[in-house]
Each structure stands twice: as C-alpha cells, then as structure tokens.
C-alpha cells in the first residue's frame, strides 16, 4: 500500500527581481509513489526542487499544480491531521527551544501532539536509548554541538511515533563521524519503528548508506528512480582515489583504473568497482609504489547526475 503518492506535482514561485516579476518553476510535474516501510533518498543538486517537494508533501506549501496524498491525506488540505502522523526534520531549522534542555522541549511537543504525560515520558526514555542520546536531553540546546543537536531534533521528530519521516538535508553541516552516526540511526529507526523514510540530500554517501531506493531530480524534473543496488551497479560504480607519492613512482599501470590527473608527486585515479574492488586497487598501490598519503572519495553528485543523463534509458 502506498503511503506517499505524488501526481504531476508542480510549484511555481514568483521571482521578484529589480523591476519585473517572472515566475520560477521549482518543481515541474513530478510523479512517484512510495510504499510503506521504504527508505527513499530524494536527491538532487542545490536548487533542484528537493525542499520544495518535501514542503508540498508535508503541507507547508500549496502546489501550483498536480496533486499528492500522504497517508491518504492531501497534505495542504489536511495539514494538521497529517502533521500528527508524520515527522519532519529540516536540517537547518530547529524545532527545539534554544535556551531549554531538549527534555523540556519534548514535554511541550508532547502536549502539542496530544500525548499523555506518562506516555510522552516513556517515549522519551525509549528514544534516548534508541538514539544513544539520553545524556544529551538535560543540556540546554544552545550548549549542544550540531551533531548532538541533530540527534535531539531526531528524537523530537520521533516523539509521536510518526508513520512517515520527512528528513530535509538532515546531515548538512555535520562532520563525517556525526553524519555516519546519524545515518545509522535513521536506518535503525526504519527497522525498529517501521517508519517510512523520505530523505533529501545532496550527499552521495547518504544514498548509499541510508536508502534502498533513490529518486533523483534536477531542475525540478524527476530524472531517475530506481533501487540503490541498481544504481550502485551502474552509476555509483566509480570511486575516486587521490594518492600522494614520496618520490616519483615511475609508470603506474593498473587494470580497471583510469588515471585522470598525474604529476611526479601525486595522482588522481578513477576506479570502476564493477571491474576491480577498491580494496584490491589500494593493496596494489601500497605494495608497488612509494605512497605517502591516500584517500578514497565518492564521486560528487554532479558527476552522478551527468552520468544519468549520459546513460541510455532503460
């Protein structure tokens, strides 16, 4: 059964320039459907229309065209009824009270969601354990680090046991470790609580580690919608390796590896992981050449997107 259904969803914003006003089409006729319990990464570069879509699906924005239902409700018509059953988390907007400890904020949110006091308290304890955040709940929000704060924000979002979780760029601004931890928690929430996850991001790692299905939009249009495993085989099959050498390495030649940049002190390599595993490449490099430093990174989202455009349509 579908929990989210978008049909030709469109949003046009007025553009207020110096003189004339002309509209900007942020989202142009997007359609998709999400089943209960799925983990969706809704990705695209900055300004692609991700946030606009999520805000229409949560009823914050009224669309200019098309329609959608979430849990069988039309979000912008039944915003309040829907809000009671979904959770929303916006990466850069806090729902907690800045000067108060999260626990105090939870009490308030509990009242707002109509949870009886004892239920709310039990739920907070449960979430403290689930998110390893119990010790953070009594520190005023302003004294928390961003990573800690996001864990508390996630707890706030989960307080009323939502059936669908909308996360808008939740990992933005977090450091690598905090990102990793947050991703693990999201997956845990999905497994433990059965909540459907709908998460926007422009970080490729978010897709690989959180989602099972990925929807890519660009310039307000849906350009890709498939399982992450399929995407991994086709579009995410490359990793970038940056190597620095202690002394000129001489001729470097590895099967399945393409050299994109090369000098006497370093090199940039693209590895096709369907042909050769990253581990194998790293072992070979370390064995044969005078490596001083080495790092592996995901290809940037922009590259994935141009690959989508380049790929023949199935």
């Amino acid at each position: 059964m579908a929990v989210i259904e978008a049909d030709a969803l469109t949003k046009t914003f007025p553009l207020r320039g110096r003189r004339q006003a002309c509209p900007v089409e942020a989202v142009r006729g997007i359609s998709f459907s999400v089943e209960r319990g799925e983990r969706i990464a809704y990705i695209g570069p900055n300004g692609a229309g991700k946030s606009t879509s999520i805000k229409m699906l949560t009823g914050i924005l009224h669309p200019s065209g098309g329609t959608a239902t979430v849990l069988d409700l039309v979000p912008w018509r039944s915003r309040r009824a829907l809000a009671a059953r979904i959770g929303t988390l916006f990466g850069q907007r806090s729902q907690l009270w800045f000067e108060l400890p999260p626990r105090r904020g939870f009490r308030l949110l509990g009242a707002i969601y109509g949870l009886p006091d004892d239920v709310a308290r039990r739920r907070v304890d449960e979430l403290g354990a689930l998110l390893d955040a119990a010790d953070l709940f009594d520190v005023p929000v302003r004294n928390l680090s961003l990573g800690q704060r996001m864990r508390c924000e996630l707890a706030a979002t989960l307080l009323h046991s939502p059936q669908v979780l909308f996360l808008d760029e939740p990992t933005i601004g977090l450091d690598l470790l905090a990102k990793q931890r947050f991703r693990d928690l999201v997956v845990r929430v999905n497994a433990d609580q059965g909540a459907t996850i709908f998460m926007t991001s422009h970080d490729v790692a978010d897709i690989e580690q959180v989602a099972r299905r990925v929807i890519v939009i660009n310039h307000g249009v849906l350009i890709y919608d498939d399982e992450v495993s399929a995407m991994r085989r086709t579009l995410l099959a490359t990793k970038l390796i940056e190597v620095a050498f202690e002394r000129p390495p001489g001729q470097v030649c590895l099967a399945g590896v393409q050299v994109t940049e090369s000098s006497t002190t370093g090199m940039k390599l693209v590895v096709d992981t369907t042909m050769r595993s990253i581990r194998d490449v790293l072992d070979t490099l370390l064995d044969r050449y005078p490596v001083a430093d080495i790092s592996v990174v995901d290809p940037p989202l922009e590259q994935v997107i141009s690959a989508i455009y380049a790929a023949p349509r199935a």
Partner: protein, 253 residues
C-alpha cells in the same frame, strides 16, 4: 496545548535569568524616561486640548500594559512579517497545531513583560484607582491588546503577498509612535487616520479616556474596532498562508 506553549515560552525566557532581569530593568528605565518626559512637559504646560498630566499618565499606563502584553507575550506578532518573508514558518507548519495562535505564543520577550508590570504600577500610582476605574482599565487594555495584535498580524501578513516584511516593521513603529500621544493634538485627516487605518488612537488614548469619562458609544466603537482588527488579522494570515513560499523567493535577481 496553548497553555503548554506559553509555559514553554516563559521557561525559555526564564532560563536566561540574569539577562531577564537586566531587560526588565532596562524596560523600566525606558518607561520612567517617558514618565519623566510627561512630567517635565506638564511642568510648563497645564492642559493640552483636554489632556492634563493625570490623563496622559493614564494613557501611558494603558499603553505600556497593552504594548507589554503584545510585544512580550505575543512576541512574534511584530515578527510575523519577517518570519513569513524569510520562510521561517516551516517548523510551525510541521506541527499539528493552528499556526497563528501557536506562533503568537511561541516566543516570550522578557524585556516587555517589565512593561506590563510597569503599566499596572503606574496605574496604581497615578490612575486614582477605584473599583470601577480598575475594571475599565483592565477591560480597556484587553481591547487595546486585541486591537494591536490584530493590527500587527494584519500588516505582518502582508509579507505573504509581497515585500520582505517591511510593511510589518513600518506599521509596528508607526502605531507605537503615534499611540503614545494624546490623539487630540492632531487634527483633520491625520486624526481620522488614527481612528481607522492606523488605529493608534484606539490602542491607548480611547481606553484611557474611557477610564476617566465612560461613554457607552465610545466603548462600543472600541470593542467593534478591536473585533474588526482581530478578524482582519486572522483573515489576512489565513489567506496569506496559502501563498507562503517558505523563503524560496529570489528577492534580488
């Protein structure tokens, strides 16, 4: 639910106690400065078009009470325009609550609570309180509060329809500036405006005059105007919300 919101907002203001008292104190200084102004003014001038020092202090007591409650307890009323224009309503709209009452109560401004206290004290000291006058002062202040909130929400909600919320800021400054003076020093079109589109006269001057000299017609007009502005604020906000852009408006192309 609303009660919980208010409690949370107060707790937040209270969490920063040192700054809370500092702000309340600063507000008291601010108000005392105005009282000093009026005392100095009436030191040389006996009576200006029916307003003597007693009545002007009464006006000021009502004004501080009204402004204190509106800017203190409904602290977001004056910020509505900016919040709407900058797309900061997302978090509120994600909650299963009526956005307007929740927003108004979401934030408490400690400094302005000092005003409420000051207004009460000033009334007690200079307002010659009798049971009837106390009642009129309280009821009149409530009317002023409803009216001012309605007005601020109305001008703030204009931001949904265009602009960056300047209308809200401008309306806020204009009404508070003009509400502080005996309305009768103005004449003609200006005076008419202060009773209608920019209802500064109704915020404090009319309630103050009612305390001194009750008049059923004026009271009826005040209540009517308060109701109209409350309704106007609610309607503009509700209609405006449909056009909310969540900050996704490119303002400078």
């Amino acid at each position: 639910m609303l009660l919980a919101t208010v409690r949370g907002a107060f707790a937040e203001a209270w969490a920063n106690r040192q700054s809370f008292w500092l702000q309340v104190g600063a507000m008291a200084v601010n108000d005392l400065a105005w009282v000093a102004f009026w005392l100095l003014f009436f030191n040389r001038v006996a009576n200006v078009r029916g307003w003597d020092v007693g009545r002007v202090l009464l006006l000021f007591a009502v004004l501080t009470t009204v402004a204190g409650v509106v800017l203190g307890v409904f602290a977001n009323a004056r910020r509505l325009g900016r919040l709407a224009a900058e797309g900061q309503l997302d978090a509120v709209l994600g909650l299963p609550v009526r956005p307007l009452p929740y927003l108004l109560l979401r934030r408490v401004e400690a400094a302005n609570l000092g005003d409420v206290l000051f207004g009460g004290l000033l009334f007690a000291a200079a307002g010659a309180p009798s049971p009837q006058r106390v009642l009129l002062y309280v009821v009149g202040s409530i009317a002023g509060i409803v009216l001012l909130t309605g007005f601020l929400v109305t001008v703030g909600s204009l931001a949904f329809f265009g602009g960056n919320g300047e209308a809200g800021e401008l309306g806020f400054h204009a009404i508070l500036l003009l509400a502080g003076y005996p309305v009768d020093v103005f004449a003609g079109g200006m005076k008419l405006m202060l009773y209608t589109v920019l209802p500064a006269a109704l915020v404090a001057a009319v309630p103050a005059r009612l305390v001194d000299a009750f008049d059923v017609r004026a009271a009826g007009l005040l209540a009517g105007a308060a109701a109209i502005f409350a309704l106007l604020g609610w309607a503009t906000f509700t209609l405006g919300l449909r056009r909310y852009t969540s900050g996704a408006v490119w303002t400078r192309a």
